[in-house]
């Protein structure tokens, strides 16, 4: 059997006793807590029951009061509505009259203003018209002058161009005419030449041909071709 040292044994003993005391303490505390809880719960249930009764009574009273208030409010509202209607009708009458008279006044006033503005506008427009007329007249005169100058210039240029073209065309026509005359003359000469040749060929007899050839031989001899 193992023998423990004395101080270890004391320590274990002290630890055991401490633990036991702690457990007992905890148990006692638990029991007390449970009891307190149950007591409190019972009290609360009772309080709640009392509270419910009070609340219900209060709600009832409040409902009653509120109904009274609502009824009173409705009554007052009806009175207010009635008086408001009366006021509105009166006010409407007054307003209609006021609006009508004011409108007429304003209409008259605006009419006058409009007439004045109209007169002034017409006067101004007349002045503007006169100014525009003056400007326009000057511009039209300038434009007319410029246009006239341009027309004169264009006419001069066109006239010169036309004259040049006409002269050129005349020269071309003249050249063409001369060329054609030349062609015709050449054709005629060629034709006459051919006719003359043909006539000569046909008109010369064999005897004349022979004589002409002999004459050629004589001429060749005279020119000492056969020396």
């Amino acid at each position: 059997m193992i023998s423990l040292p004395y101080y270890v044994f004391n320590s274990i003993l002290l630890f055991g006793i401490g633990s036991a005391l702690l457990i007992v303490g905890v148990g006692v505390l638990y029991i007390r807590t449970i009891r307190k809880y149950l007591t409190e719960k019972e009290k609360r249930i009772k309080m709640e029951d009392n509270l419910d009764a009070k609340v219900a009574e209060r709600i009832k009273e409040a409902r009653k009061k509120s109904e009274e208030i609502i009824e009173k409010a409705v009554q007052e509202a009806e009175e207010i509505t009635q008086s408001a209607t009366n006021f509105t009708q009166k006010t409407k009458g007054f307003l209609e009259k006021d609006v009508d008279s004011t409108s007429k006044e304003y209409l008259h006033y605006y009419q006058e203003i409009l007439n004045e503005v109209g007169k002034e506008a017409v006067e101004r427009m007349d002045n503007v018209s006169e100014d525009i007329k003056g400007d326009l007249k000057i511009k039209v005169e300038d434009f007319t002058k410029s246009l006239y100058e341009k027309i004169v210039e264009t006419h001069s240029v066109a006239s010169k161009a036309l004259q040049d073209t006409y002269k050129k065309a005349e020269l071309e026509v003249e050249d063409y005419k001369n060329k054609r005359i030349q062609d015709i003359e050449n054709s005629l000469l060629h034709l006459v030449e051919r006719i003359v040749k043909k006539v000569l060929e046909r008109e010369i007899s064999l005897e004349e041909h022979e004589k002409l050839v002999i004459k050629s031989f004589e001429e060749a001899k005279r020119q000492k071709m056969f020396k």
Binding site: E185, V196, E208, H209, L212, I214, E218, A220, K221, F226
Partner: protein
């Protein structure tokens, strides 16, 4: 050697033909039978040629071969004169031209005739490299060109009525 055949040759064509006949006769000297000289001169040579050849061989008393060689040599020596004509000549015309040339120019000249109708009349001659134009074409063109303005004037007058 002088031979009558020279006078008979008027044109280049005549020259070639007579030359061929003489060469044929020369070749026949070495043949016999139907190709003999006697047969050839009667059958393959024109009568006037045969007549002149026989007459000259007999007259000159020359061997046939020598005669033929001399005559051929003479004929080949003939000078050609090129003649352009505007018409196609008859045989008689050619004889007239040849007679004139052989009498007035030289008997050793033979004409080479060319037909050119554009000449109108007259002739153009080329002899020993010299060219002469005696045609009426040339005369016509010369006169035509010189009188061209006058002719144009005449044409214009005719056109204007």
């Amino acid at each position: 050697m002088d031979t009558e055949l020279t006078y008979k040759i008027k044109t280049l064509e005549d020259q070639n033909r007579i030359k061929n006949e003489l060469e044929l006769l020369k070749e026949s000297l070495f043949e016999g039978g139907e190709h003999s000289f006697e047969t050839t001169i009667k059958t393959n040579v024109r009568a006037f040629v045969a007549e002149i050849v026989e007459k000259e061989i007999a007259g000159k008393k020359m061997p046939q071969k020598e005669y033929l060689e001399n005559v051929l040599k003479e004929i080949k020596k003939l000078e050609t004169m090129k003649v352009y004509l505007s018409f196609e000549p008859t045989l008689l015309t050619l004889e007239k031209f040849s007679e004139y040339v052989k009498t007035n120019v030289s008997k050793y000249i033979v004409m080479d005739i060319t037909y050119d109708p554009s000449l109108i009349a007259g002739t153009k001659i080329i002899y020993k490299g010299i060219y002469k134009d005696f045609s009426y074409l040339k005369l016509f063109e010369t006169n035509w060109l010189s009188n061209r303005e006058e002719i144009k004037h005449l044409i214009a007058e005719t056109q204007n009525g």
